[in-house]
Symmetry: C3
Subunit: 336 residues, 3 copies
């Protein structure tokens, strides 16, 4: 693709009359002499000297110089993502209903849906226009799947669950299985509480592989629009996760946790139940939240605390044995 | 439903001649003026003033006053759970064997079973009376499934595994896959040890979504009757989990751990292998057990320690940088 | 089996003319009087006195005495593993293609493959000689499965992924689902980055149940030959895991982590992204790696640090409240 055409497609500014054939897209280090790369964070500028890239996407207000021609865009990382789509096209399955798919009674199928082999759709389900259900997807009764949703193989949508438009479920995502609710009885046994609630996944959410979003006893477990959830995450019964929030791999939310909008929870961070995590908060890897968190906080640690404090704490924790020695020395010195 | 009828169904005591139509059940805050709610823990009594509920389930020995009529029962939370079952009925799949189900040789099917679409049952399997296998369940050879067991879609029961009566497997539970056993060889490679053991899940156990209970080299991995296991849990090869125990979300048990009866392991708590956790012990969220634990203990932390001690420790951990400053000041003061 | 025949099969040295019929194999404590057991670690030698075993596998250079006859071998634990295979044979599914399996266009099937019920194989896939695909396995387009690979039920191999010879996938392993890559846009939304990379699983790898190995934006996520990965593990997009390495249950690797050869990562240990973990390093249970690690290190803790230091630190952490009291006392003593 000619660089001028690429610039036009991306809405980028490039030196006129420049003529380069771009054949691919790659990171700075991996780019070949016909690839385009990108500079999103100025701290990587030094690495540009060693890059073979034919051209580079930079921010409109970038003032440095680069060894290769620039395409100036308002959001270089976003332009990079769009460039990947130009050079790597993934074919989608064809719009058809595989003869082995089992479709229940009273099911409404939108136009142009793709229903793969051995998909099982329960009764009174609605599947939106253009939705793609890969083989071995199972949809229980009375669930709704939004338009242009993509459900990968072995994903499960349980009874009455609502899946919004353009939602993506990666393989083995489980939406709406029973929450963990039991009554501890006087005789020492545990009595299962019927999980009569449901789950709503709003539009443009992605839920990755092997993640469970549970239904609760009563009421709704919700994941807000545009939120992205990584692999092996648990969203407990009755949680309310906000919009445009990131839950990284192995995050665990106990029941009835409220997570705000634009939150980032790092890998394997977790929250006790019935807490509230404010908008725009960032939780570090492995942070263990044991009390509610204000908006705009940056926290980490076990228990989770202010990130800067945690960084000082872990610096000191390593010196704890030395610290004890110093204390003993003082005690000796003053005769304690 | 008339409140007198509800009281009779629940074995509750209510003022005679009271006439209220109850149409649903909800938490205190959510209850409408025709819902019944419950008070299990007296600490929530203040919230009652703001509740719209038409009536409330309280303990037989409750002595306070409530803004709405009481139904007195010996176990209010249990009565609440049973009330949910009255107002929310979930239809079960019909008793039939779907024509696409594949049933192996020598399989014994109990009466009134429900075998869903695309279920695969191996050879010499036994399925108890009234068991429900949702679509896409796979049972390997020589496994036994107890009476009235409920296996949700994509759950797997591996070869020779025993599943007790009334066991519930939520979606993608994997019972009896190979344990993690390898011989580190002299040449640096890892030689797989055949996992010739099996798994026994006793009656009334529930295992939720995406949880793995592994078989071991030899012998039995056991989950005792009435125990409940949440999502994304690992029970390693050769573990012996007691009865009426709760393993919350993301709990990890390494191989050959012995967990007692009536234990509660909080979310993401874990145990090293070959340890023993005594009866009635409670492990806090994220607690990391590195040595065996006595019965009736309350522990938390990394490493897990007495809960009260851990709470004091985490209070002090946050002050560690200050503590170091105080130490420096003392050293200066006394000339060290 | 006569002990002389067993010795010959294992290449073991045994007293000539000894005649014992061995009927099984078990651990020291469980062995009956016709079982063989093994002693790999000399620290268990005292327990031998109580063992009923008919014979024992010991190291060639073992100098102690045992209450039962010895079979001397260079690697007793390995010999034990091979003995299990003699006494416990697991039948494999027959070499056939089940009539319900769906095989796409342009698929190359090796000889003697076993394709189970309801397996779905995409277009242009290659399945090596002797490979076994259990029921409900799904292979996306353009993937390759090596010779003698074993894929258990509900395992998934996504588009273009390469699975090496003799690889074992336990149930619900997901290889090559999309990595967690999103552009945070100026308007606060998250834009999905096409995951155009792929995954290569080299020969002799085992990946256990409910584990996800993700593809990345561009390039390859690799698991090196002979490596073994337990249940519920995440290997993030773009990771490079070395050879003959062990990732125990619930390990989490964030994106672009580089793990060396012969590494052992203990249960639930984890690494932040873009770090490097050197060859032969051992990471303790729950260790949280926040900076790159040299080869041959032994580390544990949160944050991960030298194991010996961590053991001293956790000994002191428990004394933190006392330590604060001592500090207060000193301050009082010297008038601060």
């Amino acid at each position: 693709m000619q660089i001028q055409d690429l610039a036009q497609t991306l809405g980028a500014h490039v030196a006129p009359h420049l003529e380069i054939e771009i054949t691919g897209v790659a990171g700075m280090a991996e780019a070949t002499s016909s690839d385009i790369t990108f500079l999103s964070n100025p701290k990587y500028i030094a690495q540009l000297q060693n890059s073979q890239a034919a051209a580079i996407l930079v921010s409109s207000n970038f003032t440095g110089t680069t060894p290769m021609p620039c395409l100036r865009v308002s959001e270089p990382y976003l332009a990079f993502a769009k460039t990947i789509e130009i050079f790597h096209q993934k074919p989608l399955p064809e719009c058809s209903i595989h003869p082995t798919a089992i479709v229940g009674e009273g099911v409404k199928l939108g136009t142009n849906v793709s229903i793969g082999a051995y998909v099982v759709i329960g009764n009174h389900v609605s599947i939106g226009e253009g939705a793609i259900l890969y083989p071995h997807t199972v949809i229980y009764d009375h669930a709704n799947i939004g338009a242009y949703a993509i459900l990968h193989s072995h994903s499960v949508v349980r009874e009455e669950v609502e899946i919004g438009d353009r939602v993506i479920l990666q393989n083995h995502a489980v939406i709406g299985a029973d929450g963990f609710g039991f009554v501890p009885c006087a005789d020492g046994t545990l009595y299962k509480i019927m999980q009569a609630g449901t789950v709503i996944i709003e539009e443009d959410v992605e839920i990755q592989s092997l993640t469970a979003i549970d239904r609760g006893t009563i009421g709704i477990t919700r994941v807000g629009k545009g939120t992205k959830i990584d692999n092996l995450v648990q969203v407990g019964h009755g949680c309310d996760v906000g919009q445009h929030t990131l839950l990284c791999g192995m995050v665990g939310l106990a029941g009835s946790t409220k997570v705000g909008n634009h939150v980032t929870m790092g890998g394997r961070s977790s929250s006790a139940g019935h807490l509230s995590i404010g908008d725009h908060t960032a939780v570090g890897m492995n942070g263990t939240i044991m009390q509610s968190v204000e908006p705009n906080a940056q926290i980490s640690g076990y228990p989770a605390m202010d990130l800067k404090l945690w960084l000082r704490v872990i610096a000191e924790i390593k010196k704890l044995p030395q610290l004890v020695k110093r204390l003993r020395k003082i005690e000796k010195e003053i005769g304690l």
